[in-house]
């Protein structure tokens, strides 16, 4: 019973970080129709960059994290301006492939700068484990969940009330109409990439402060794909709800299925969920079913 509670709490909190990363994906998909397959690699890059800022240069934590967010904004802008902008109105195949090329490049970049491949971030959160009823949870998980929740709220408010946020929602709805209304669509695109990169960066910092930095972070980022597939590609609500479900499923499977199947079943559960969702409800729980016309 204590185990179950433990898996549940860990699963839901980790799942919320997946949600956070997945929301960056949904944001880009909704506003510009680009599928960002470099998500995992971006998470890896930002984790290493944080490591570089905090451990290697030894900046104070607040300043280091500030620079990381700044770098994420800059990188998002660069990616949109120089890679995705020339490809506007190209077939979806090119748009997917270009993010794959980016993924390859970023992975090489991480090896280039930090060739040793495995390291730990300096401690960002207090260490002492917390007791919740019978389960013992390390505090980092709770911090991660709390920060994710806070960001959800902040983003929702931004989209609901700010001028730019409303423009972004409008772009997601109908690019042509928005362009006709005089809203600069390209600016919206670059804004959504910048936001997505910041979310990947925060997700990366949270994940790597829990589990250290390693190549496994790429797969963590890729697990967010199962979140968006389960939740529906174009639904923020879907991403928020599906994240904890995926986290829960993989932790429960890791806890109870490892004994009867092979080790590593925890890592593969999100991908199995992708295949199952594809067969049963391809557009996800909250995704809009696309009706095509010739």
């Amino acid at each position: 019973m204590a185990d179950l509670l433990q898996y549940t709490i860990t699963g839901i909190t980790v799942g919320m970080v997946y949600s956070l990363i997945a929301m960056g994906f949904v944001l880009i998909w909704k506003s510009s129709g680009v599928a960002n397959l470099a998500l995992g690699q971006l998470v890896l890059l930002f984790s290493w960059f944080t490591y570089g800022m905090l451990a290697q240069t030894g900046l104070p934590i607040w300043l280091g994290l500030f620079i990381v967010v700044g770098f994420a904004l800059l990188l998002g802008w660069i990616i949109e301006r120089f890679i995705l902008r020339p490809l506007i109105a190209q077939p979806i195949l090119s748009l997917i492939a270009v993010t794959l090329g980016m993924a390859y490049f970023i992975e090489g970049l991480c090896t280039f700068v930090w060739p040793w491949g495995v390291d730990v971030l300096p401690r960002l959160f207090p260490q002492d484990p917390v007791r919740i009823v019978t389960a013992v949870v390390s505090q980092e998980y709770l911090w991660a969940a709390g920060i994710s929740l806070l960001l959800f709220v902040a983003l929702s408010l931004y989209f609901k009330y700010s001028r730019m946020g409303i423009a972004m929602r409008a772009t997601a709805d109908d690019q042509m109409a928005v362009q006709a209304c005089g809203i600069p669509v390209t600016k919206i695109f670059s804004r959504s990439w910048m936001f997505a990169c910041v979310m990947a960066a925060i997700g990366g910092v949270l994940m790597s402060s829990i589990g250290g930095i390693s190549y496994g972070l790429v797969e963590t980022g890729m697990k967010s794909f199962s979140v968006v597939i389960l939740g529906g590609l174009d639904s923020f609500l879907g991403a928020i709800i599906a994240g904890p479900i995926i986290g829960l499923a993989e932790n429960l499977a890791g806890g109870y299925l490892t004994a009867i199947t092979w080790p590593g079943v925890k890592e593969i559960i999100p991908f199995i969920i992708i295949i199952i969702v594809m067969f049963i409800k391809p557009y996800g729980l909250f995704g809009e079913t696309r009706i095509e016309r010739i």
Binding site: V98, G101, F112, V113, L233
Partner: protein, 352 residues
Amino acid sequence: MHLPAGIRNYTYAQDMAIFRTKTQWAMLGLLLVALIVVPLFMANYWLSIFNIIAITIIAALGLNLLTGYCGQLSIGHAGFIAVGAYTSAILTGQYEVPFLFGMLGGGLMAGLTGVLFGLPSLRVKGFYLAISTIAAQFIIMWVISQWGSLTGGFIGLNVPAAEIFGYQFTGQLSKYYLIMAICVIAIFVAKNLARTRQGRAFVAIRDNDLAAQVMGINLFRYKLIAFFTGCFFAGISGALLAHCYYGFLNPEFFSFKESILYVGMIIIGGLGTTAGPIFGVVFIRLLERLLSLELVPFLESTITVFPSGWASGITPMLFGLVIVLFLIIEPRGLAHRWQIFKNSYRLWPFSY
């Protein structure tokens, strides 16, 4: 497209012909003779490069049929290659099936796996399909690396050398002839498949699958045929990789990165052309050799200021850069450049 000067077509068959003039036939003959004769004078180093290029071409042709002609993006090609490689290795190694049947078995098994993971393509496309092929890659590699009793898991699996009618292909040169023969057959099949009823249906599906369906093309059938054929090629390539190149299998040979690289190859070469994958594979594999065997060790040994291993990041960085630049600057790939070159050669000295 421009024809060579003085060519007139009087029948449909003439119009469809790939080789139209005696010169073209002669050049094809010369190429085949060169493929047979030149290796006799090559060192093993170059032979092994030729071998890996030819093996990769087979897999890339399959991916090109699936992605370039039928428009179904697959980012799990290395997974399907692994299925072929392991099936063939296990069939010949543990059940003592003859090599040729083992190879065909590997192709069939890879094809069927492809059909299984291609089933979602009937309801979804584009990004959804790409994601499900990524999932396929991870699930396949997980099964292979964990099913240790059959596949050897992380420790690896020894593969017997290819053997046909008692003749063992052990030397680089004999392997070369085996691989090249299969590669030439594969190119022939791929080129002609694209011109048949199936190939035309693939192109129609790529351009607009709804319109294709309205015109009476059975999407269910042709999409699965595309998945089967594409992955069958992958399986054959995997079997050759196992028996004739590595001689030893490890899940690490079939990583997700390798899958991305295959997509990169057909993009650099040119999607939806038969020459494309060949150009792309030659380009990428030569670059890979040059970088990982020449440049990286050189940089590692000359510049020692950085922590060890730093230079191995250069290869993926350049690959990523090349893929991105090709998509932005020349999305139709090297094959298109080659076409432009051929046309201007034919029209010279007139520029139009």
